[in-house]
Every structure is written in C-alpha cells, then in structure tokens.
Symmetry: C2
Subunit: 155 residues, 2 copies
DNA sequence: CAATTATTGGACATAAATGTCCACTGCTTC
DNA sequence: GAAGCAGTGGACATTTATGTCCAATAATTG
C-alpha cells in the first residue's frame, strides 16, 4: 500500500494542474476546477482551505469569487504543495517506524532510505506547478464561453 | 501521509531483521520475534501467514514449531518481502491516480516519478534481510537460555 | 438593506487500514 | 489416543482516511 501522499494532496495537484487551463490569470473556482479535474468537490474543498491557510491560495468570497494563486505557478514547487497539505514532516518519519531512529541511531534502512529520499526531494523541489500544467493535455476547444459571470471590481 | 508500505510490511521487516538474532539457523516463533521486535503479535501473525504463502517462510506446527526461512537471509531482498506482503503492483499505480496514465499517455508526474522509482527499486533489490540484520543493534547478552523446549526430531 | 454567490468550518457518514479474539487444524510427545 | 503446542483463518473491534452535508460568514450586486 505505497502512497507518496494522501488523496487530498493528489487532488490538490490534479486541481492546480488544470487550474491554469481554466483561467489564464491564476483565478479559478472550486466547483469548476473539481469538475475539470474529475475529483470529488466536497472533499477537495478541504484541501483548498489548507492551501489557502498555507498562503499559496487566496480565497475570494462572494459573486465572481474563487481562489487566486498567490505566486506564479512556476514559483510553486510540488514539494510546496505537498508540505502545505501533508505537513512539513511527511518524509521525516523512520521507514521502519522506530521512534529512536536518527542519524545517531540509524535503523537498518536509514541510509538506504535517506539516499532515495534525497533524490525524491530534489525532484519534487525542481518540478513546479507550471511544469505540471505544461505537460497536462490541452483542452480541445474553449472550455467555457468566458467567465460565467465576469467580475467587475476585482482583479 | 507518505507511506512506503503498510504496517504489516513494516512489522515483517522488523521481525525478520531480529529473527536472525533469536536463532542462528533461521528458525523462530511468532511470539518470540514479535516480543523482540516490539510489534503487535496478533496482527503480525497475519503477515507471517502471507510470507509463508509466498514461500519465504515455512510454517511448522506443533511443539517446537514456528517458522523457518526457506532461503538464506542474504538471498531475500527487501523488495521480495514488500512484494510478498503488499502484492507485486504496489509501486505500479499512477502517483496522480489517473487510470489512463502509462508510457503512452503519461501524467505530468510520470517521468519524474519513474526516475525516482527506479532508484528506489534498485536499492530495495540490492538490500537483503542479511544486510538489515547486520545493521541491527546486537543484543547485549544471551536473549534466552536455549530454546524454551528444544526440538528433537526437527531440523 | 435584501438577495445572491462562494468560501468556511464543523458535524456527520462511509470505507479502508489496523488490531484483537477464538475455535480449529496439524504436529509432536508421551 | 490423549494432551498440549504453534500456526490458520474467519469474525469482530477500533482507528484512521476519505467523503458528504449544511448552517454560517463574507463579499458583490441591485
């Protein structure tokens, strides 16, 4: 039962990957992006809240609201998202579940796992949301006819 | 919520790591090894069953019974154990949870994850149970005064 | 101010992982 | 064959992860 991250985090990455597709200026609504990504809306909203509280998204309430990316997509790494959703210590625990495991008292798997983890973290720090969006399949035609209700005072 | 493998698999590795300590000839009993490894016995027994069915352990019932390693410890890799407990496809699923993801239609994270996974699998194939046992802290003195009931016809 | 819209956060529901228990089978010994 | 030992497998209990719902909040529009 290997898992790189939780479902919530998986949904966050999928949502943000296609958020760029929906709107060029980094704005999107939960409902739209969840439908686009094919992920459960009610559950994914929780993750958006976490991302908002972590400062990667700004929540805008009311008509024409939604979420706004606080940084350009190429300035948000995958590790940023993972840490925001999972906590900063996701990759810190001992693989064998030994509480005393550390550099002083390494578990038998410590060194092995450390080297693999280094490679993993390097990759997750290099790749950004922009990279994901660029690789994502482009939509065939225009997704929707303009914003469903164009904001007027905002932006 | 990163997880390299399930609790059952974690317990298996911890148990087998100290199985060598308990008995030189690759024999051990569930009760002893669970106490030694500090893992829940009832639950871990299920994992032993899986390992027995996978052919890595041979179960011996009756007095003086227990489990016997079917191969020398340096011939069983960590990946062997993981596959036996988790199934052969633990590391095969798409990290973003996309069903259509594959080499033909790679998800945005496909290449990134593939390279990390290759490194991970290489390590898990190189490291054996013997390596884990060698790295495990040696017990200070004799664990127990001989077998609690030395088998006579067996071995 | 009233109505509408979109996020918020807590309560609740379900599913999956983890953990426990016990009657049973097979084996060994006497 | 009787007794006891150790693994087996199914049923059950608990915990965690995942998923849903709804009243409340904040912002926009008229």
């Amino acid at each position: 039962m290997f898992k790189l991250y939780s479902k919530g985090c998986e949904y966050a990455l999928r949502a943000l990957t296609c958020a760029a597709v929906l709107n060029e200026n980094g704005r999107f609504q939960a409902k739209d992006v969840c439908a686009e990504a094919g992920i459960p809306e009610s559950f994914s909203r929780k993750t958006f809240q976490a991302l908002a509280q972590a400062g990667f998204l700004k929540a805008l309430r009311g008509p024409g609201g939604g979420y706004m990316l606080m940084r350009p997509m190429d300035k948000i790494t995958l590790l940023d998202v993972i840490h925001a959703v999972e906590g900063d210590d996701t990759f810190d625990n001992c693989v064998l579940g030994l509480p005393m495991c550390g550099s002083k008292q390494p578990c038998p798997l410590h060194i092995t796992w450390k080297s693999v983890k280094t490679e993993l973290l390097t990759q997750l720090k290099q790749q950004t949301l922009q990279d994901l969006a660029d690789l994502a399949p482009r939509p065939k035609g225009p997704r929707r006819k303009g914003s469903p209700r164009p904001p007027q005072k905002r932006q």
